[in-house]
Symmetry: C2
Subunit: 147 residues, 2 copies
């Protein structure tokens, strides 16, 4: 476990405490899983992984906890064409996603310097721009190797 991950976990716990939310074993397990993966999992995927360690965990609790974290601004919901909502618990910095259309894995893309088009777009359209989302679709190296 690296320090950055530890810090992120501590931040999440602190945010919950600020709101007088209890740190239950289920919530802790969910938080740990979120900060230890760079994938962006769906509620069902999170539940499947959690239930291995906490057989009594329920899907409803997963949804409730994710909703709570969303309200705290600590996770972002992203919808994909697979019909499921996925959750992004990385730092709320704008970043780009890589989505494998074969195994449906969703990860963050490495940073590439590029001009920020926000101001230009705002000037052209009159929109007051507050956020953005960039996704690239393709086949991940693992899937390419197994085809």
């Amino acid at each position: 476990m690296d320090t950055e991950t530890d810090n992120r976990l501590e931040t999440l716990i602190a945010k919950l405490r600020e709101r007088d939310c209890r740190i239950t074993p289920q919530r802790l397990a969910l938080l740990e899983m979120l900060v230890h993966t760079d994938e962006h999992l769906s509620a069902a995927q999170i539940y499947e992984r959690l239930v291995k360690r906490f057989p009594t965990t329920s899907l409803a609790t997963v949804y409730k906890t994710l909703s709570l974290l969303k309200d705290l601004g600590e996770v972002t919901e992203i919808s994909f064409s697979d019909g499921d909502t996925h959750y992004d618990a990385s730092n709320p910095t704008p970043h780009t996603h890589l989505i494998c259309t074969h195994c449906h894995r969703i990860t963050d893309a490495p940073y590439i310097a590029a001009p920020d088009l926000t101001e230009e777009l705002a000037a052209l359209t009159g929109y007051k721009i507050t956020g953005r989302r960039f996704d690239f679709y393709g086949i991940c190296p693992d899937c390419q190797a197994n085809m």
Copy 2:
């Protein structure tokens, strides 16, 4: 009705005929609506508008027709955090979306020249990149005026 819109409609009709699909009044009405708007509507939104002119139209038919057009590669499904799937019937050229977080309107952004990061990203990650999606979120001019 401008020529470009007309052409798009003719293209869609021709594609359907190629597949020996019938041009029913319901399908024609849906196609006309799709090519006459630059918004990206959900199935429910499309149904609401259609039913004004075709009171007998059903939501199931809207879904079936959209699915057909998707198979033909003439519309693209895009999921947003409102939980609904929206449909993009514009030409299948990669483009950027502008999404108003207030009225939930989704339109195409004007083209802005920018470096294509696809190759760089492919080289860095090993992904074979096949597509992309860029969305900007914000408040549209109409909503700003009414706030």
